[in-house]
Symmetry: C2
Subunit: 79 residues, 2 copies
């Protein structure tokens, strides 16, 4: 069972990496750009038949390793 996890910085946390991308695009002549924020994306393949327990496992993986809950939010989707 495959899940995608998207990890993004919380709204009020500064995102220097995204800012660099944004400035680069502006320097390249890109107009009408309001903002860019960067995050992480994971595709996790879990060997479970039951969707509920599989999702629980992915949630555990996020909380234990992938996400810093103080500054980041995350979303889990089945794919």
């Amino acid at each position: 069972m495959k899940f995608s996890v998207t990890v993004t910085l919380k709204k009020d946390v500064l995102d220097p990496q995204g800012k660099v991308v944004q400035n680069t695009l502006i320097n390249m002549g890109m107009k009408n750009l309001k903002g860019i924020r960067q995050g992480k994306h994971f595709e996790i393949d879990v060997d479970e038949i039951d969707q509920v327990s599989a999702e629980k496992k992915v949630d555990e993986i996020c909380k234990k390793l992938l996400v810093n809950l103080i500054i980041e939010d995350y979303k889990i989707n089945k794919i």
Copy 2:
């Protein structure tokens, strides 16, 4: 108009970063884990009213800066 862009390595490209995450999880005692692949995630806010031209702009941003088309795939979604 906001778009999310997900950049992932193509299927046959090795993903050492994802492999490290996977090995770490196994060392932490996680079972039934088949695989993890890591990618990038961007949230792009474009100042356009027309959705078609906004998407075109985001696509241009991807091709010019965010994505290495030789080894990476990308997906654009409106949010």
